[in-house]
């Protein structure tokens, strides 16, 4: 079982970690106790490449108070090469270049205590 803290500690070091079900082969983003596909509890960690394409995206223009100084900023749902998806903040790609299908690569966004998922140019 990979807990949130493990996932983000590895992400901070630049590595994305998924889990694969040894029974049915389902690939998922942790944490999950049971496999949602077959309900077995037999995960093994697998490294993810961090490479993928934008499945959908938006540009947040009216942000929550805590993010007011960063707007406008883009968030994308990215389908990774392995088949699972991750939501992330887009960095270093001009907003007008964003498009469904655009290749991107994982980038850890580290802000002192907290690491978040980011994606930059592939």
């Amino acid at each position: 079982m990979i807990h949130l803290q493990h996932f983000f500690e590895r992400a901070r070091a630049g590595e994305l970690t998924g889990v694969r079900c040894r029974r049915c082969g389902e690939l998922a983003i942790p944490p999950k106790e049971f496999c949602p596909a077959c309900h077995e509890r037999a995960w093994e960690p697998v490294p993810l490449s961090g490479e993928g394409t934008i499945a959908s995206f938006t540009v947040i223009r009216i942000p929550p108070r805590a993010w007011a100084s960063e707007a406008p900023y883009a968030i994308a749902a990215v389908q990774l090469r392995e088949g699972v998806s991750l939501l992330g903040r887009i960095v270093d790609i001009p907003l007008e270049r964003l498009a469904v299908g655009l290749p991107v690569r994982f980038r850890a966004l580290v802000d002192r205590s907290q690491t978040a998922v980011g994606f930059g140019p592939s």
Binding site: S56, T58, V59, P63, L87, R89, V100
Partner: protein, 384 residues
């Protein structure tokens, strides 16, 4: 299971209020009890929806607070929180309490107060219904969630911004006919398209407003309902859930929980979407109405935008959707929304909706969506 009917409905004016959410609920409940011609002493339980009371009113335990302000402090009270679907979840549990024989008369309600805080704050509080570690940490907002759905639907089906705008125009046109609606003003497709971007491709007029308001329903067993003037029967009430995280959803152009809740509700009632005459559904954003009309089986996948553009969902169209004005124009006090949608469908099935009446409506459907599409409730109603 016993039959259950809605025998009384009440809704406050939606918009800005200088009263607490408990007071707004109580106003609606007084109206609902008068409509049912029942005294507060008849109420055996209260199921209550309220979402951001902790944030906007610094108030937990809002169920007993609401019951106390109404004046029924000793009635067993439970607060439900399924984000924007809270009072529809409350309704389903009240139906089960009566259907199972535990109670004869149960009150359902919901209320929300948010216009007493700034937009940056309400935007943040609503975002608490998305995942804190994975999604809030990115600065994701609810318009952002539905913008991701919109972009995916556009890429998959060719849905256009003009089609989304048609939903807003239609619901504003309906809202003009509803004296309780927050907005009672017609708008044009051009106004929607020229309104400022909130979360691309969603613009201000694609989004429902922040709203204060309350709603209440009186539910009764068949035995009690037969003694009331105008019972409307609950034909089905179904809930479905889906993965909490956007990254676990396989297809952002669909809302699988809507499809599952609708299938369960149609099965319970023994009828299909073709039997439905009037629909109140969860149009928190224009794209949400398009995807919901597809998920409920009213139109084929990919046809929701076309249906809106061609007027099929307007009053007088093939299947009128949101004659109340919907969340878009009537307003969206999140804890009250599910109950308010049911109040509208009950009013329609009684034939009492005045200028927004759907002619000859016999079967109605309500659909309420919670959070980032992880909760959906669908209920069906019929008159005799």
């Amino acid at each position: 299971m016993r039959k259950v009917a809605v025998v009384g409905v009440g809704v406050t004016k939606f918009g800005k209020h200088d009263r607490t959410s408990a007071e707004l609920f109580a106003e609606a409940a007084v109206e609902a009890l008068a409509d049912a011609d029942l005294s507060p002493g008849a109420v055996q339980a209260l199921y209550y929806g309220n979402v951001v009371g902790s944030e906007t009113e610094h108030q937990l335990h809002t169920g007993p607070q609401a019951a106390s302000v109404l004046g029924i402090p000793t009635v067993p009270t439970t607060r439900m929180e399924t984000a924007c679907a809270s009072s529809h979840a409350a309704f389903r549990h009240a139906v089960m309490e009566i259907a199972s024989g535990v109670s004869e008369v149960v009150l359902v309600g919901g209320a929300e107060r948010v216009l007493n805080v700034a937009t940056e704050d309400s935007t943040e509080y609503f975002a608490y219904a998305s995942d804190a570690r994975w999604e809030q940490s990115l600065g994701l907002t609810f318009p952002g969630v539905f913008a991701l759905i919109a972009r995916a639907h556009m890429a998959r089906w060719g849905t256009t911004e003009e089609q989304m705008a048609a939903v807003a125009v239609k619901n504003h046109r309906h809202g003009v006919l509803n004296p309780k609606a927050q907005f009672r003003k017609e708008i044009t497709v051009e106004q929607v398209l020229r309104s400022p971007l909130v979360a691309d491709p969603l613009k201000l007029y694609d989004c429902c407003p922040f709203t204060d308001g309350g709603a209440a329903l009186v539910l009764a067993s068949e035995e009690v309902a037969r003694t009331r003037r105008r019972p409307v029967w609950v034909l089905a009430s179904a809930a479905a859930s889906d993965a909490m995280l956007i990254h676990d959803k396989r297809d952002l152009a669909r809302v699988p929980a809507t499809e599952r809740a609708a299938a369960a509700a149609y099965r319970q009632a023994g009828l299909g979407p073709e039997a439905v005459d009037v629909v109140e559904l969860h149009d928190c954003f224009t794209i949400a109405e398009i995807v919901a009309t597809e998920g409920l089986g009213l139109f084929e996948p990919g046809m929701g935008g076309v249906a809106a553009e061609r007027g099929w969902t307007s009053l007088g169209g093939k299947i009128p959707v949101n004659p109340s004005g919907g969340l878009k124009a009537k307003g969206h006090p999140i804890g009250a929304t599910g109950a308010a949608q049911i109040a509208e469908v009950v009013t329609q099935l009684r034939g009492e909706a005045g200028p927004r009446q759907v002619d000859g409506a016999r079967t109605g459907l309500t659909h309420t969506l919670g959070g980032n599409t992880a909760t959906v409730l669908v209920s069906l109603f019929g008159r005799e």
